[in-house]
């Protein structure tokens, strides 16, 4: 008997997650380097002390045993203890993840909303000056390096005009007069990184939406709708857009997945205290527990986003169900 679709999907998802956990665990341990070297170079350590440190971190056990300990803890929601920060990894990653999520939520909403709107607008005016300038500027923005764009904005608005803060998520040592103060402060700090992400990422959404919609708009049912005397707006938004959304949903799912790890460049420019800096430092220091948690999180985001996209397909287009 075949399992229902959803059950099959969930099983696949779990198998994939397990594979990711195993891979993450092995990946960093197979790479050259050793977390205890960090301590071995500070002061004069004897090999015995290095051995003690390895034992403290559990690195003296056979690989399979290390994995078993890690996996058991993971099932209990315990991500381990950071070699570097000497704090529980869940705490460390948790506070960074929240910051990254704030930035990403703002950027994702704006990128998809504006991107789709512009794409639809251009597609419905295919061939016009407005269309071609939208396409060209999308291509230009898509090609702009994130780092460079961020620096440019930072210099213009942070250093030259000095109207927006250049770094961090809030003003250091600020005192707020109103209860809304902290949120407004974060909001101000969000502006430049968000605009950067929107500028460099919006192009793909405009182009995908436009090309998908251009196809749909040539289909017979659109002609029929027009023939029925519907307004252009109703034809486009009521009939064509829903049919043109499938590729956009895919793109959004991929975007959310990529961006959790991929906002690193923006985080670096604006010193946003997110996952980027944490991951970078953890790689340099070979902080295995932190690395495993970060990459697990990245993988889970990608997998879950794609799972949700799959589900959304079936809602948007019932024909997918039988596929």
């Amino acid at each position: 008997m075949r399992l229902p679709y959803l059950a099959r999907k969930v099983l696949q998802l779990l198998a994939l997650l397990f594979a990711v956990v195993v891979f993450n665990f092995l990946l960093f341990r197979v790479l050259p380097g050793d977390p205890t070297r960090l301590y071995a170079r500070s002061g004069r350590l004897t090999p015995e002390v290095v051995a003690q440190l390895r034992s403290l971190f559990g690195l003296d056990k056979p690989l399979w045993e290390q994995f078993w300990i890690y996996f058991k803890a993971l099932l209990h929601g315990d991500l381990g203890f950071s070699y570097t920060y000497r704090r529980p990894v869940s705490e460390i990653v948790g506070e960074r993840l929240v910051n990254t999520m704030v930035l990403l939520a703002a950027a994702t909403i704006l990128v998809t909303a504006i991107g789709i709107a512009l794409g639809v607008w251009a597609a419905s005016r295919r061939g016009s000056k407005g269309d071609s300038s939208t396409v060209i500027s999308s291509l230009v923005m898509w090609s702009m390096p994130t780092f460079w764009t961020g620096m440019l904005l930072l210099f213009a608005f942070g250093v030259w005009f000095q109207v927006l803060p250049t770094t961090g998520i809030s003003t250091p040592l600020a005192t707020y007069s109103s209860p809304l103060g902290p949120a407004l402060d974060v909001g101000r700090h969000l502006i430049l990184p968000t605009i950067t992400l929107v500028l460099v990422d919006i192009g793909q959404f405009v182009l995908i939406t436009r090309s998908s919609l251009v196809d749909v708009l040539t289909e017979d049912f659109v002609l029929t709708a027009k023939a029925k005397g519907m307004s252009k707006r109703r034809v486009v938004w009521g009939h064509a857009v829903r049919n043109g959304m499938l590729p956009v949903v895919t793109a959004t799912a991929l975007y959310v997945g990529i961006v959790v790890g991929g906002a690193i460049q923006v985080e670096t420019v604006f010193s946003w205290p997110g996952m980027g800096e944490l991951t970078y430092e953890a790689v340099l220091r070979r902080d295995y527990p932190v690395l495993e948690a970060c990459f697990l999180l990245f993988a889970v985001t990608v997998i879950v986003a794609n799972f949700l996209a799959d589900m959304l397909y079936r809602v948007l287009d019932p024909r997918v169900t039988e596929a």
Binding site: V49, Q52, L53, V159, T166, T167, L173, T268, E277
Partner: protein, 565 residues
Amino acid sequence: MTTQHAGVRRDLSRRQFLTRAAGGAVVALSLPELLAACTGAGQSATSTTSGSPGGASTATLRVGWSSEPDVMNPLTSTTTEAVEVLQLVYDKLTDYDADLKAIPALATSTDVSADGKRLTYHLRPNVTWHDGEAFTADDVVFTFTLIAGQKSSQFAQWLGDMQSIEASGSDVILTLSKPQAFDPALAIPILPKHIWEGMSNADVQKFENPTPVGTGPYVFGEWKHGQTVSVDRYDGFWGTPAGPASVIWLLYQNEDVMAQSMRAGEVDILTEVPPTIWDGLGEVDGLTALSLPGFSFHHIGMNVSTAADSQGNPLLLNKDVRQALSYALDRNQLVQIALAGHGVPGSVLLPPAFGDYMLEIPADQQINADPDMANQLLDQAGYTTRNGDGVRETPDGTPLQFRLIAIESTTVDVRAAQLFRDAAAKVGIKLDLATMDENTLDAIVYGGTDWDLFVWGWDTGVNDPDYMLGIPLSTQIGGNNDVYYANLEYDQLYAQQAIELDHATRVDLVGQTQQLFYEDCAYIVMWYQDKLQAYRSDLWTGFADTPGGIVFNFTRANYTNATPV
């Protein structure tokens, strides 16, 4: 201690710091700087919007750094950043002033016995911990005992010769098995017994110490992970109250942005400035760019392991080959090209910031920039080109070809490695260059002997030559000794200087130690990099030109002496 990155951790974190700074310089080539040049906007930025200054002691000193501390536990931390914060929170028995001269701290004076093995520290009365508890001799005894048992701490090396430590009224008596030129009191932060008592070694290793309690001029404030660390002036401090009411360190993940933020008025001091940016900052009104001698060097290490199973190229065991490599290289050119002039050409193991401890080798005696001499040495050794490919061979046909590795993110090192490769080619030695990340290079160099040459650096965690001189000890093979150098004569000279209490005699011994290692050529010390920093001189004053930098140094004096303009 502290040091800049230096080391104490020296070493590692310092190295990371160099890495990062250098990387930034290049990536950047600094678009904003270029823009500033084009638009003249640089000038306008000097009118600051910062709200700090004004009243004598209500101002906050804002310091920008490019890496975060790891943990506020001084016994497990390996970062310069943590040391920087903790040196304002914890006191030592003896400290450094802004000129790096020893001054009393928790100990008002120290008596040394005639044989140098017994140190009596007279403790300052009426000192209180930040939590209100009284500071006593028991705290000192506890700290020394704790650290001596924590072999993995950066401080344990200074207590290797400790026989006993005991309290006697308000005195603490430290007994050593042999005299020690470097007084451990200058390195060890005194911890409160009432907080650290009762922890096992494993407990200490896992102790986060989220709010360190000390006796120092500042009370630990808050650490917003990934963002800022702050400390606030301690009203009950035993000494002169510090200038800034608070100090806050701001994390910048990008050094270009850090420099721009200083112009925008968001930060007062930059702990490390990449050379390309430094040149521009000095021209901005209201900013002062500092170039101070550093406590670090970068070097080319040669695998001189004589172990039977060494997998290094045995040709490097020939001193003539090593000296030829050293003669082939022009240190002055390295400094000009790789460092854009911001450094001193290298020679011996100790950087110039050590003052009279550094051995001056006259230019005509340096093993440097003399390709003719290199050719002569190699010709005499019978290594000549036989097959016309430009690479010398040994009489039995083995080519003079070595593997050279460098850290790819340390741009200055990669540039130096390329120059070294070209210089060696001119004297008939072929170098195959590969780059990698630091931890990988570390694993190759320390994990075995399957390598020939590397480019890397060191810096010191204490203001004493002992640490750097100790790197090539044969007993440090498996520890810090990165070239597997083993020379009993060197070990003996080192041991003599370490117990010599007379300064002039020690300077002489330290000089001999450097001379020996220099001639053996297991290291090619390429350069001593200048410490490039900058501060808002329109907002703050009171900084001394301390060798090693106004901040990220062994002294906290430039923090406490800072005064708003």
